[in-house]
């Protein structure tokens, strides 16, 4: 990935009692919404349809006028700026992407640089840089039209176009909503990796609580009538829903959802006694007594797991490579807990060895360990971008 040029620093965003009332309707679409988004964070607005999340987002770049209250961008009211000028400095990505079908990919990405009258050479260089950043070959893609791209590629180009002038703030309205589930997962991860580098302040709208938990550093749950039900980190939201609405919206499986927030390396693993064939059995027995797991794990010369040693393997003076069961599942430190648990359940196993990036055993993960992790409410959860990076 190419390093972005001229990184502008992200700006904090603040909603101050923002209200939107459409003429002729009694209930406001957005009702006294107040929340602060720290610079460089992803704030997800989530809620059922009609909760005003998109309206709230669109007031940031004045696509919709604010009835009362204010939105401050970098401490400055968006009302003080001309809408067109304001919008050129706020990245904008919508569900249907909205690429211009009559413009080439390069021309699409160059939309805002062109409006800001960048010179040709600078625009061309920036377009290529962005195409590389999103993993598309500039030579191949530059002169194509949107109709010639796949849905996933179009989505990436939409993000590149929004990033063109390196805006400090981005608005994303269900940006992955029109993508098939498999590509969506990949694009979400790609975007989080990008965000780990770019650190934009992002307002991200979705109706999907799982996406909100995955993408958000902070989540604003909104309910019908444009009211903010809870504004919290994903971990707080899942452990302590503020009211019945949030609890219901988050879902009965919220304890399971927490598993998506943590990786194996984030939690305290069980210690495990490893041994190599030919080793003195006394020493191994001593290590097994000290370890959390009362069974030894046979490893090869490189420390990679071979399988769980049987009792008979320890009967002689030297360890004999007799296995009770294979080392399945083997879990990686980088796996998220949800996937690790799924592996354990699939293998019908209560525990499995955990290996680091080189494949060496560093401990064991058990269902008890995971259940303990779910229970510990205060467990530190990394930010969305850090979770993927």
């Amino acid at each position: 990935m190419a390093a972005p040029s001229a990184l502008s620093s992200a700006q904090p965003l603040e909603f101050r009692a923002v209200t939107k009332r459409y003429p002729g309707t009694a209930a406001p679409a957005v009702d006294e919404l107040s929340l602060e988004v720290p610079a460089g964070d992803i704030c997800v607005l989530v809620g059922p349809s009609g909760c005003g999340k998109t309206t709230a987002m669109r007031m940031v770049n004045r696509m919709i006028d604010i009835t009362s209250g204010d939105i401050l961008l970098g401490g400055r009211s968006v009302k003080d700026r001309k809408p067109d000028e304001l919008r050129r400095h706020i990245g904008y990505v919508i569900q249907q992407i909205g690429l211009f079908p009559h413009r080439t990919i390069a021309e699409n990405i160059a939309t805002v640089p062109h409006l800001l009258r960048w010179d040709k050479a600078r625009i061309a260089a920036r377009v290529d840089e962005l195409l590389e950043l999103i993993g598309l070959d500039p030579h191949e893609m530059r002169d194509r039209y949107p109709a010639q791209l796949s849905g996933g590629q179009r989505q990436r180009v939409g993000v590149a176009r929004a990033l063109a002038v390196d805006p400090p703030v981005m608005l994303m309205d269900e940006p992955f909503g029109a993508i098939d589930p498999i590509s969506r997962e990949r694009l979400q991860n790609e975007f989080l990796r990008l965000q780990a580098e770019l650190r934009k302040t992002i307002v991200f709208v979705t109706h999907d609580i799982d996406e909100a938990i995955k993408m958000g550093d902070r989540i604003a749950v909104m309910q019908v009538g444009g009211k903010l039900a809870q504004y919290a980190t994903p971990a707080e939201l899942l452990t302590a829903p503020a009211n019945a609405f949030v609890e219901d919206f988050v879902g009965a499986d919220r304890a399971l959802k927490r598993l998506a927030l943590q990786r194996v390396r984030d939690i305290d693993l069980w210690s495990v006694a490893t041994c190599r064939a030919g080793e003195a059995t006394d020493a191994v027995r001593a290590r097994v007594t000290d370890a959390d797991l009362d069974i030894a794990l046979l490893v090869d010369a490189d420390g990679k797991p071979l399988g769980w040693l049987s009792e008979r393997g320890l009967t002689g003076e030297r360890v004999r490579p007799e296995l009770r069961s294979p080392a399945e599942p083997t879990v990686e430190l980088d796996d998220i807990l949800r996937d690790a648990l799924s592996d354990l359940l699939a293998a019908e196993s209560m525990y499995g060895p955990v290996v680091d990036a080189r494949g060496q055993v560093v401990g064991a993960l058990s269902i008890q360990v995971i259940s303990h992790a779910i229970g510990s409410a205060a467990a530190a959860v990394p930010s969305a971008a850090e979770r993927v990076a």
């Binding site: 770049n61 696509m63 809408p83 067109d84 000028e85 304001l86 919008r87 050129r88 400095h89 904008y92 919508i94 569900q95 249907q96 992407i97 909205g98 690429l99 211009f100 079908p101 009559h102 413009r103 080439t104 939309t111 805002v112 409006l115 194509r144 039209y145 109709a147 010639q148 791209l149 796949s150 939409g158 176009r161 929004a162 608005l171």
Partner: protein, 237 residues
Amino acid sequence: MTLAPVIAQAGGFVRDRTGDTGCPGNNGICLGWIVDNLDRYRTPFFEHVFLTVVPVAIGFAIALSMGLLAHRKRWLITPLTGFTSALYTVPSISAFLLLLPVTGRGNDTAIVALTAYTLVIIFRNVITGLAGVPRDSVDAGRGMGLTSRQLLFRVELPLALPEILAGLRIAAATTVGLAAFAYLAGAGGLGRNIDQGIEFRGNVLAAGLLLTLLAVALDFLVLSFQRAVTPWRRATA
């Protein structure tokens, strides 16, 4: 452009047939006669081009302006559609007669009437074309900070162009046909040739072929332009 040579030529044509005992006398198709007498059609043909291109060009300018206005002020769509449709329903002969006291005999009357007929076709296509522009492209454009004017000229009009030009093509083909009645208003064109030799098949065929040629040529011209300015429509995955 004066009427005198047309009349003289047409008069000459009628005399030619009188007493002729050859193919024209027997009222045949007479391809040989057509080839020998192509000169008779040259001036009327170019008059016909003029009577088609000028009304279509003026009509295009007016209808496009009305379309852009109605695109901004949506409430204008219904009255403007009604007005232009009403113009279209006036029979051409009545239109010429109604206009005679105002614009007199000649090209002016013909051009005013023919222009009026193009309006509804082009106006409707401008409206349909602009309405068919993908909403998400417009929303994205606005969200990126294009002004309404930039949005119109850089996004909406280019994307509506195929539909607008389709209207232009229909208007051109229709006007080629309607302009054949322009001689009733005292303007020239191939209509006079047809009228003055309506009993002679060779003459009707020659004029008809030229009308068809003109319609096809104009259509091809607009279509080529459309293809040249909309390369993105041919791009496929």
